[in-house]
């Protein structure tokens, strides 16, 4: 009784805050019982998450700091010319000095990476779905795809640039070449990982193949998809830089090449640092998207810390 009223009150409140979205999902979002699940994810939960993140990151940060310190000391006191091995501090200073040029060359790399990766994702999704429906197509395609992974990027990149010019297209193609296959494999394996009982039950409910794909096979593939995404997004940046290295008007790859030709290893390293940061940022973004897209995974890990055996009489939540 009380819960009903509270639910209705909450629903009303929410719809006044967000009238458009809540109409469709009000039922979903309004807890039907005051003892809902939201309170558990209170501020302590968030703080402890940050705390565990810090404890997890600390060793990595420490080892990186030690590495940089050793490098700095070696470059300073090891009597090595800065044109051979610049110290990290010098790299940083020079990077700051040429920040305008670096930024100018970073943007095209970012857009090439994102465009290429988006194309690759789209193609992987469409083709994996096709392959799921037509197993014979899989047998026809997979040998070609595996063969494509044996192509050495160093040899292919200049050719692709030769054929398609200095524009965006050759970059998209090269990024697709390195990222498409892992995504495709992840998706196809993810579909196959669907629990047999679930598809069988859906079929018994009267669902057709397309329905089963949409309701069961696609969601089952999500963990595989994100595992593939995290791997291939790191390849994507490398692919973009390779493509630019082979020829481009602007971009981190061509910037590295010209810095090298001008005997500026400090600027090469600065560009490398930028590309690493870019890769890490994209990786972090992928992890974030995964967390948002798969909220039930958080619930699963949360449950490990909780103890709630079913009360046999089944009166529900006390």
């Amino acid at each position: 009784m009380l819960s009903r009223r509270l639910g209705r009150w909450l629903r009303a409140r929410r719809s006044s805050i967000a009238p458009r979205k809540s109409r469709k999902t009000a039922f979903l979002r309004a807890p039907l019982c005051p003892a809902g699940h939201l309170p558990r994810k209170g501020p302590q939960g968030g703080r402890s998450a940050v705390a565990t993140a810090i404890t997890k990151l600390a060793p990595a940060v420490l080892s990186l700091a030690m590495l940089l310190t050793a490098w700095e000391l070696y470059a300073r006191f090891g009597d090595i010319a800065p044109t051979i091995l610049p110290a990290p501090s010098r790299v940083l200073a020079q990077a700051w000095e040429s920040r305008a040029a670096l930024a100018e060359n970073t943007l095209p790399t970012i857009s090439a990476t994102l465009a290429g990766f988006a194309c690759s994702l789209l193609a992987a999704f469409v083709l994996s779905a096709l392959v799921d429906f037509l197993p014979r197509l899989r047998r026809a395609l997979f040998p070609i795809l595996i063969a494509s992974q044996t192509l050495p990027l160093v040899a292919i990149a200049p050719l692709v640039v030769l054929w398609f010019g200095f524009g965006l297209l050759p970059k998209i193609l090269l990024i697709a070449l390195v990222t498409f296959f892992p995504m495709m494999v992840a998706l196809v394996e993810g579909y196959a990982a669907t629990e047999k009982e679930i598809s069988q039950m859906l079929a018994a409910m009267g669902a057709g193949r397309w329905r089963i794909f949409w309701l069961a096979r696609l969601p089952s593939a999500l963990p595989y998809f994100f595992a593939g995404l995290r791997i291939s997004i790191t390849y994507a940046v490398v692919g973009a830089i390779f493509a630019e290295y082979a020829g481009a008007a602007k971009g981190l790859g061509i910037y590295m090449l010209s810095a090298k030709n001008n005997f500026r290893p400090d600027l090469v390293l600065a560009a490398v640092a930028v590309s690493s940061a870019l890769t890490l940022a994209l990786f972090g973004l992928a992890v974030l998207v995964q967390r948002l897209a798969m909220p039930w995974e958080n619930a699963k890990s949360e449950r490990a810390g909780r103890d709630d055996k079913a009360e046999p009489s089944g009166e529900g939540r006390p």
């Binding site: 979903l28 629990e195 619930a299």
Partner: protein, 257 residues
């Protein structure tokens, strides 16, 4: 009135003979159990009924050849979708039938209390205990309002205490709803507690070796008298099953109706 009628149903997987002629009937409003050793082919029988695989023999429903969408099927593992909240798992069958998600939720929500899931509508399946998962799966099964329930070892994966509680709960539920149901189990006590009739299967290749009526009044959990009678029936069934496991008596097992 006979609803489901199987006559000499057979199934082989290649050279593996799994079902060697199963005949059984289920009447309207009747709760029938299939009891058999692990690997006998019980789940295979359900796959035949739901049309997932094809076999030989005759399967009739209400007198006509079986034509699909008659059953609400609960698979052996609960098959809850981890990516759907409990309420959306419960509405799955209705959504597949074409009902709008919102209408389906409104239909299902009032039943949560009866299934001991009140307050857990918005929880993820991973947040439920084993018994609650089974109740959620059962809820998803019965809301489909099909002619008959097929339950494949609904409590097989639970600990003994939870299982006993769930069996009693299901008996209470059945008394108020009178579903026509076919239950697979290898728990003799469960079969006796819940069923009107029990078919005992042999090990693979499965045949019906015994059909046991359970004429006990309901509710069956109340008196000591009932418990004694139930125990006698259980003992009889166990003898049949264990006799089957004994290789010496293997050749002599016939239909002991």
């Amino acid at each position: 009135m006979t609803r489901l009628e199987l006559r000499d149903v057979r199934k082989n997987f290649g050279a593996l003979e799994v079902l060697a002629g199963i005949s059984l009937d289920v009447a309207a409003g009747e709760f029938v159990s299939i009891l058999g050793p692990s690997g006998a082919g019980k789940s295979t029988l359900f796959q035949l009924l739901t049309g997932a695989i094809r076999g030989e023999g005759e399967m009739r429903f209400d007198g006509a050849p079986l034509d699909g969408a008659r059953f609400a099927f609960m698979p052996q593992r609960d098959a809850l979708m981890p990516w759907r909240r409990v309420i959306d798992n419960a509405t799955l069958g209705l959504e597949v039938q074409g009902m709008k998600r919102r209408a389906a939720r409104e239909r299902v929500a009032p039943m949560f209390a009866e299934f001991g899931l009140a307050g857990f509508e918005r929880a993820w399946p991973a947040e439920l205990s084993g018994g609650m998962r089974q109740r959620a799966a059962l809820l998803r099964t019965v809301v489909q309002q099909r002619d008959m329930l097929l339950l494949d070892e609904p409590f097989g994966a639970l600990d003994a205490l939870t299982r006993a509680a769930m069996q009693r709960w299901l008996e209470t539920m059945w008394r108020s709803h009178r579903w026509t149901a076919l239950l697979i189990t290898h728990d003799v006590r469960e079969a006796v507690l819940l069923s009107d009739r029990i078919y005992v299967l042999s090990a693979r290749p499965a045949r019906v070796v015994s059909e046991v009526a359970v004429p006990l009044p309901r509710p069956r959990t109340e008196s000591a008298e009932l418990a004694r009678e139930a125990a006698a029936i259980e003992a009889g069934i166990l003898d049949t099953l264990l006799g089957l496991a004994d290789p010496n008596s293997r050749s002599s097992d016939g239909e002991t109706k």
